[in-house]
């Protein structure tokens, strides 16, 4: 059985007010539900359908993913550094399971 492994990249130290880049990736096949197996049976859809980023518990960015997002969905986005604290990343898979990752950030 495969395990979805999340990874994020955030700058080490930030200046207050600065816009910074976040890169987030999760290993996942993003099965579209349109393919068939060797016996002709449909392979059920299983994708990461949603990604959210919270900054000290405030929702600052989110994405709805559909079937056409490539396997191992990668997303690069930009946030404003407001204060030190914690970024929380959550990926939601079809069927309801979630994968979460937290990352501390320092703003000077």
């Amino acid at each position: 059985m495969f395990t979805a492994t999340p990874r994020v990249q955030v700058p080490e130290a930030l200046t207050k007010g600065e816009i910074f880049k976040v890169r987030a990736l999760i290993t996942h096949p993003m099965e579209t539900g349109l393919r068939r197996d060797a016996d002709g049976r449909g392979i059920p859809r299983k994708i990461i359908n949603n990604f959210t980023c919270r900054y000290n518990d405030i929702l600052v960015f989110s994405v709805d993913f559909h079937e056409a997002v490539a396997a191992n969905p990668y997303i690069e986005f930009h946030l404003r550094a407001t204060e030190s604290g914690r970024l929380e990343f959550v990926w939601e898979e079809d069927g309801g399971s979630v994968i979460a990752l937290r990352h501390a950030i320092s703003v000077y």
């Binding site: 960015f61 994405v63 056409a68 396997a71 997303i75 946030l79 404003r80």
Partner: protein, 154 residues
């Protein structure tokens, strides 16, 4: 015999469609205008209103890419991102994919910038669309043609 009838029917149809195609291209000076309406209609159907083509929306993708499984996409919208004037979301569509919706990015004023990158699947060469809904309700759009050599089976 059935096959013959079917065969000739198909040939005739082919002739007729190609004739219509040529007639169409002489009548419409810029074929891109017709394609634009198609994209505009699709957006209207999905979003419930018309989008305005805008150079504030920047959709960047390679013009030609070897495979359709993982095509890079970058997009940005020029916006102050204040409470009064910001981008609410940007929706990416691939009209020639079996499932047209690709992804929707949601932004928060003063907290996130409408500037993202990801990788998408394209089932065939096509024009990819990005539509941005602004805080005043206006829909802005941009498009870019991508030629994929191998199609991303989705």
């Amino acid at each position: 015999m059935d096959e013959d009838t079917w065969g000739s029917g198909l040939t005739r149809r082919r002739v007729l469609t190609s004739a219509a195609f040529f007639a169409g291209s002489t009548l419409v000076p810029r074929p891109s205008t017709a394609a634009g309406d198609e994209a505009g209609d699709l957006i209207e159907r999905l979003a419930g209103k018309r989008a305005t083509e805008s150079n504030r929306v920047h959709l960047q993708m390679p013009r030609v890419f070897p495979n359709g499984y993982t095509v890079p996409l970058a997009l940005a919208v020029d916006s102050a991102m204040t409470e009064a004037e910001h981008v609410v979301y940007v929706r990416v569509l691939a009209p020639r994919n079996p499932i047209v919706e690709v992804a929707t990015f949601h932004f928060v004023p003063k907290r996130s910038e409408p500037r993202v990158a990801t990788r998408i699947r394209l089932a065939e060469p096509q024009e990819v669309l990005a539509m941005a809904e602004m805080s005043d309700g206006e829909l802005l759009m941009a498009r870019t043609w991508v030629d994929v050599a191998t199609n991303g089976c989705i």
